[in-house]
């Protein structure tokens, strides 16, 4: 147990909508080791953000179990869950929408400290010291301490988001598309910052993104999702050099390579992601799959271990 910080078993999250049951996360299991990064990739609507939020219980899971540091936290009562949020934090996608426009930089960074009662609100000096310390850590100039979000660009706003997540000294952070809203030159600054902080504090990340190049760059393990299911899990070299699932292959082949001398050999993927509402039995990718057989649309494939650490859910391998 020592090395595994997070263990997720058969996690399922359904939403009950007017048009039927929406299966956002279906029966997903994985583990993350301390100090490592799990990259979660998939296209919009595949349930990757819901997975991240269900793990932090920002969405209550429908079924399944979540173990953090060896403790089952799936049914933890609110007071204990609040305690646990000292150790589990989240960085949100859009730094334009995830900050309260009426809170200054120092208020935003100090808020978690007050909520978790690390300091009393009368301890102004101590709080201010901590805020400035965090600002130095994430590379925000101290002169911005009383600025409001609208005065700052996207990169700086995301640095606030990171400072706010780190101020409680957590062990595990769900990073939900933290660089998607940023320009490429700023994106690199933030990715480097996150790597440095991980090294410095031994943080464990669950990094959610649609950008496969980013995931390859950062992750120790990659989980590929399609319509709520985990279709493949492996190390970056397993996923990128030997992608097994037809969806992973199609996804990789669709990335435009920044080199005109490497022409794209695209695995033609027709159609678009289907609706996750009232989804039936069978492989969820079958309708778009080049290799679909009759059994694919009738029977759900099992998750198979192909080699150590490399799992795939596809009838081609059963």
């Amino acid at each position: 147990m020592s090395n595994t910080i997070l263990k997720v078993k058969n996690l399922t999250k359904n939403f009950y909508t007017a048009s039927g049951v929406l299966s956002a996360v279906s029966n997903i299991s994985f583990e993350i080791k301390t100090g490592e990064t799990l990259g979660v990739v998939g296209e919009s609507g595949c349930g990757k953000s819901t997975l991240g939020r269900a793990i932090l219980r920002l969405h209550e899971p429908t079924s399944g179990e979540i173990y953090f540091d060896g403790t089952n936290i799936t049914k933890l009562p609110p007071a204990e869950m609040k305690q646990l949020r000292n150790k589990m934090q989240i960085i949100f996608q859009d730094p334009y929408e995830s900050l309260n426009p009426r809170m200054s930089v120092s208020q935003a960074i100090a808020a978690p400290l007050l909520i978790q009662k690390r300091y009393k609100s009368s301890q102004k000096h101590e709080i201010n010291q901590k805020v400035l310390e965090m600002m130095d850590l994430v590379g925000l100039a101290r002169r911005l301490v009383n600025s409001y979000p609208h005065e700052l660009d996207g990169g700086r706003r995301q640095r606030i988001g990171i400072a706010r997540a780190l101020v409680l000294n957590p062990k595990f952070i769900v990073c939900d598309e933290p660089v998607s809203a940023l320009d490429v030159s700023i994106q690199a600054q933030i990715l480097n910052l996150m790597q440095d902080l991980q090294e410095q504090f031994g943080l464990t990340y669950m990094f959610i993104t649609h950008d496969l190049s980013v995931v390859k760059h950062l992750s120790n393990k990659i989980l590929v999702m399609y319509l709520g299911q985990m279709v493949e899990l492996g190390t970056p070299s397993q996923i990128f050099e030997n992608p097994l699932h037809p969806y992973t292959q199609a996804l990789l082949s669709a990335i435009p390579v920044p080199d005109p001398n490497i022409p794209m050999k695209r695995v033609a993927l027709t159609g678009e992601i289907t609706s996750p509402i009232n989804i039936g039995e069978g492989c969820r990718f079958a309708k778009r799959c080049l290799y679909a057989k009759e059994e694919c649309s009738n029977v759900s494939p099992e998750i198979k271990k192909i080699e150590p650490g490399h799992l795939v859910m596809c009838h081609l391998f059963s």
Partner: protein, 321 residues
């Protein structure tokens, strides 16, 4: 007649409460008939302002064209009256906007919106228009019978195909695509870019593809211009720029992206931020972020110089060549 699109010495300002914003500064660009030209840069570089200038879509109250010409088929588009421009828009030069979610009218069927583009430019009978709507929908990969449906019944990728259908239904000679796939997932992006490529080949349409994704440029364009703070800083064929990029900003941009085909343990970001667009520095606009900055860079602005055939760079590092 030759259908090159030639932009010369184009400067555009916006008047705002914070003062003048220098959006475009003496931009030169040539899009040859039938070719595909990528325009790369970050938010605020002036890419969209450039596209809107060509289409005469700049906001009249705030935008001012300070200097420059946009030549197309012997005419300066900036001097034509609005009636002439309306004839050119759609029929000669068409535009695809970034966000398919907001560029379609939610209360008209997609068929009606495509038909509108045909009716503005032609004298076709109702049944001929309907037939043409069906044809172009099939061409972009949408079954013709879906013409009766409304935008909300389509997914993001399908909506962008509809927008492309509207842009291409009159067989324009030039297509200006402003980040056409930025809002789409990669597998859908690949489908949409492929559709554009096929249609362009069929219709011999040239394209100005505005994007921030160097991968999209590498795979879809023959030429590329890199913009920074309202200026073209480097311009060359795609092959040439990827094998020998010269400007420190182009190099910085390339080193900032994690690459799918190469392993790097650490990215090399460009330090600092884009300059304030209300300031017009004396020297090079990239100087304060440039790792190779020299004394002269702060004193005067470098010119766009040819370093090898058809490869232009705006940087003092290559001045002696």
């Amino acid at each position: 007649m030759n259908s090159d699109l030639i932009i010369k010495n184009l400067s555009v300002n916006y008047q705002t409460d914070d003062g003048l914003v220098y959006a475009l500064d003496q931009v030169d660009l040539l899009i040859k008939e039938g070719s595909s030209h990528g325009l790369v840069g970050e938010t605020g570089a002036g890419k969209t302002t450039l596209a809107k200038s060509v289409m005469r879509l700049l906001p009249e109250r705030t935008a001012r064209v300070i200097s420059g010409e946009v030549y197309y088929q012997g005419k300066d588009l900036l001097k034509e009256d609005m009636a002439a421009i309306r004839n050119i828009r759609g029929e000669q030069i068409a535009m695809v906007f970034q966000d398919p979610m907001t560029s379609l009218n939610p209360v008209l069927t997609v068929g009606e919106q495509i038909a509108e583009a045909i009716e503005v430019h032609g004298e076709l009978s109702k049944s001929e228009v309907q037939q043409k709507v069906g044809e172009i929908l099939e061409m972009v990969g949408i079954p013709a019978d879906r013409a009766e449906e409304y935008p909300h019944q389509f997914s993001g990728g399908m909506k962008q195909r509809v927008v492309i259908a509207i842009a291409l239904v009159c067989n324009p000679k030039v297509l200006i695509a402003d980040e056409p796939t930025t809002a789409l997932d990669v597998t859908i992006q690949a489908q949409v870019l492929e559709t554009i490529k096929e249609l362009r080949q069929k219709l011999n349409t040239s394209m100005l593809l505005i994007t921030h994704d160097l991968g999209v440029v590498a795979q879809n364009c023959e030429h590329v211009s890199v913009m920074y703070a309202g200026e073209i800083v480097e311009s060359a064929s795609v092959k040439e720029i990827f094998s020998g990029m010269k400007h420190p900003y182009t190099k910085g941009l390339f080193n900032s992206i994690p690459k799918i085909n190469v392993n790097v343990t650490r990215l090399i970001p460009i330090s600092g931020l884009m300059p304030d667009p209300t300031q017009k520095p004396q020297g090079c606009k990239f100087a304060d972020r440039c790792p190779q900055m020299m004394a002269i860079c702060l004193k005067s602005k470098p010119e766009l110089k040819e370093v090898s055939p058809e490869h232009h760079v705006r940087c003092y590092l290559y001045d002696s060549i």
